[in-house]
Subunit: 179 residues, 2 copies
Amino acid sequence: MDTSLFDEAILKEFTLSFKTIEVPARTILLREGEISKKAFFIESGCLRVWFNNNGKECTTQFFFEREMVSSIESFRTGAPGLFNIESIEPCVIKVITKAELDKIEQNSPIFRKRMEETILKRLFVYQKLFLSRIKDSPEKRYHDLLENNPEMILRIPQHYIASYLGITSVSLSRIRRRG
Amino acid sequence: MDTSLFDEAILKEFTLSFKTIEVPARTILLREGEISKKAFFIESGCLRVWFNNNGKECTTQFFFEREMVSSIESFRTGAPGLFNIESIEPCVIKVITKAELDKIEQNSPIFRKRMEETILKRLFVYQKLFLSRIKDSPEKRYHDLLENNPEMILRIPQHYIASYLGITSVSLSRIRRRG
DNA sequence: GAGATTTATTAACAATTGTTATCGGCTGAC
DNA sequence: GTCAGCCGATAACAATTGTTAATAAATCTC
């Protein structure tokens, strides 16, 4: 997370508020249907965001080192989140509670503004996810991923990639064979 | 649009700023790729939002009487919008410019707050659109629409419905025949 | 009202994906 | 080292959708 816009005092309180945890792979940090009370900053490892779709796991996003993950929508509405946040690899993660974030937000107009920007960014993320599903075939989406995020393909188990592309791992295997 | 939260002076300025226009069906109010400078309030008639996907029109939303339509994302970023806004029926529409909205927003904290809420709502709209595409087959999406918005099915030409469901009108015909 | 345009249905065929099942390879636990 | 479990590839079959084309019905234009 880029913290350059915070003033010193806020930044200090911000970093002090974090608690560091270590989790093995396949650990669920936030469960679908629960009200989100924490935000996560990934020091090392990677996470995926997914939801249960009639017994099938649907992965919507991956997050890596130095990325911040939370259900900002759930923060705002206080409603249960729609997604699970789960580790794919063993991770070192910094955790901050919503209560602490709220306190910082109250004392810092800059931080408040950043939160608004984050909401707008999330809107564009969903817009992009939505349009990608419509515009492109699973095959094209795979090739795009291969071109733009090859490290993702190498790092993340294939069945998660398939789940992210919205197809079965069988179908992804076929696409890979086709070239 | 619910205006109950505005104070009197703002509300007056707000309503005075509107200019009423009448347009026939198939009129494009905002063109994809243009920077949005206006917002529309539908008095009568209905609009659809769509984008060009390799020569095929993809409809993402429909709007009806008493609904406000604009590219709020484009407003915020100043970047070209991704969508066309087009009339399906002859419409009576109230138009307000972004410049006027900006002026009102500057003078009214309440209005500013409403805009933030609107952004959050848009986020949920995209979230819902995205999840619906993933979770449900076109057939299920059609039946859901039939159950929850039967008036939409009656009012809107079928090929637009098909475009909204993400299928061809041929496929929609087949689904309808299957029952 | 006649002709043109748009809209919806249906048919036939191709292509892609899902489903189910099998198999081999890899990894981790003990 | 061995066993169990997970992961990826492949095959065979079913189901759905897209594509193209033909046709009928509805609507619009003049």
